[in-house]
Amino acid sequence: MPLRRWWEHAQKIAGASSVRGLGVGAEHWLQVASDVADAGGLLHTLWVNREPAGDAAVYGAYLTELGVLVAELALPAGGESVYYPGLEDIFPAASRLQRAAFDLSGVRSGDPDRRPWLNHDRPYEFVRVDGEGVHEIGVGPVHAGTIEPGHFRFSVVGEKVLRLEEHLGYVHKGLEQRFTQLPILQGHRLASRVSGDSAIAFSWAYCQALEGMSGRALPPRAAWLRAVCLELERLANHLGDLGALGNDAGFAFGLAQFSRLKEDLLRAVSAAFGRRYLFDIVVPGGVAVDVSSQAARALAEVVRTVCAEIIELRGIYDEHEGVRDRFTGAGCLAPELAARLGVLGLAGRASGQARDARVDLPCAPYTELAVAKIVQQGGDVAARVAVRFEEAQESGRLLRRLLAALPEGEHAVTVDAPAADAFGVGLIEGWRGPVLVALQAGPAGSIRRCHPHDPSWQNWPALEYAILGNIVPDFPLINKSFNLSYSGVDL
């Protein structure tokens, strides 16, 4: 059955613009997945919902050209003996999601890789590479820099990397369980902290799902202000990354300049919104802070100067022989491989994967903005740098447009808690890639289940491939060019 038929059978789900849900039997679970793959779609996320009574359901959310298709497979009660067919052969990204889902719920997939992922109580066996002169370098989980923890096991010959295996989960916080202890109208605060650099993306996706379930339409001014925040978050993160990438190539001048620009931007954000980083700005029904027209003009002016300076700095990066040499050809992820691994967002667009939820599945106000999709084919560090430079300019353009024409009206409306068992899905293109939040309401304004998904789930495994054949000292640069979230996948 082609994807379109599944889509026609599926029921509309509240939240993002085009989401449908489909209950499938065990016999169709794999069929839906392979039909999605045949139609060029990919697995976005997978989670398991286990009721206290013991019966469970596994959900697979697919990104397709028609929209987000959520397939639900109900599983009978039966404890450890219950299996559902694994999707890892069709979508390699499913493997870690399934292992994490087992660690969280105790419901196992048929995946032969049974190593734990989030659960660090059991020992973890790395794949060993044998051969003359092969040795292992273990890096982390604690690193020399102030970054999040994660372990990287390199198998190398000389300086050349034969294999990299990641072991994450060191910042597992029990987020999904914590969600179920919060009132549904408060969950956005935790959502904005799933991965701090994507605070707006996560909290918007959460609120999008919630507002859809409550049937409350967002006032235009609130939607526009959310888009302002989302683009500011994108611009600030791109500025930080561009500086850090220069620094990792030993070009500290770049770090100094981009840090200065980022600081200018953060101060302007602070002047407009009252906080440098945009936690708790997006609230159910709108935004927490309104922006005066004066502040909007001042912010637009800062964005204009910052973007003009980015163009100048791009000239320096592009023409600097040493920097260009480090960026070009390093950490190459070919478009075919990126497609196979289902790489999402910025890293995907740098490897020819032309997906951007702001264009493909836009919500207001992106429906009116005609966002330019920025795609590069190179797949190397230089391509990821180029995508950042161009997206920063595009964000600058969007910001100036949004700030110049903020609609009048309320910046927030009150939202009532949705009915018990209401289900919604929010999908927002954060700076790293598409962020999805699946939300199910419980009785009396509680949360039955909330599953936040960061695109890093798909992109961490891609990093293991991008490093192959490169030399060990290029890893930090390649890693930084992906700049993936630890917190967002450790949950």
């Binding site: 040795h135 292992e136 370098i137 273990g138 890096v139 690193h143 020399a144 820099g145 300086e159 220069g246 990792d248 190539a249 030993g250 070009f251 500290a252 001048f253 770090l255 100094a256 300049q257 200065r260 600097h320 040493g322 920097v323 040499d325 480090r326 030399i471 060990v472 000292p473 290029d474 890893f475 930090p476």
Partner: protein, 316 residues
Amino acid sequence: MSALDWITQVLEMVVALAAAPALLGWVNQCRAWLQNRRAPSLWLPYRSLHKLFHKEAVIAENASPLFRIAPYVVFGAMVLAAGIIPSMGTRLPLVVSADAIALVGLLAAARMFMTLAAMDVGTAFGTLGARREMMVGFLAEPALLMVIFVASLVSSSTALPAITEHLASGHLGLSPGLAFSAVAFILVLLAENARIPVDNPATHLELTMIHEAMVLEYSARHLALMEWGAQLKLFNYVCIGFALFLPWGVATGHIGPVGLLVAIPALAVKLAAAGAGLALIETVSAKMRVMRIPEFLGTAFLFAVLGLLVHVLLGA
């Protein structure tokens, strides 16, 4: 041997010990200014050393005695090297014991101990750094020797003071042969002192380090000696550069206290200029891929050989 020669000798070593951290502080200051940052204090390296000397040393359980003595050997070698480089005067009593080739050997011995100590504890990073350091070393040493040979041919001696005296007494300006080897020497200096574009002294990325990876396991007084040793190494290299290419201001022959009084400010001015130049080179370049280092040092060797050829062919 007059008393003044001995005073010069002691003074040179004391000045090297005292001024080496300041030179590094000065380079870091210039780097910060060139990057439009506010600069750290010139005295920061002294404070860091002071802090490290007052900390409790932690040593890996499986460390051998080699690991403990290496900082002293490295530091001692650098102090001794400072004693044979004519940074202020050329009549140095210690010099009779070692010429320029022995100096290269002394630096190599320090490297040997440092890399062995880095591998001693058996961590991946130490071994990684030691391996890279040996790669840099075996490529840099021939280039350095070749540079010294050019200067030796010009002045018919392998003793650094004799070379300095000969060059200082000559006409102002560099001969073409020495100009080529000066370029080679700058490349060697960058590589040997773990500066950009070969290594990044400011990085926190373990996987990219060369020098820093080797001293990762050291703490407290051992780390202080290693760092001070590295600062002395930079100081010594810069002073070798002065001895070979910019010998002006150095007290030659039996000049007396007046010569020394000229030599000290002359050295300070030259160090300030060299530090600023080093910072400029580091600011405008990015760190190269490790695999490019052989090319870089191959270029250094090539320049040194060109210097030799130019000298032989032009007789200049």
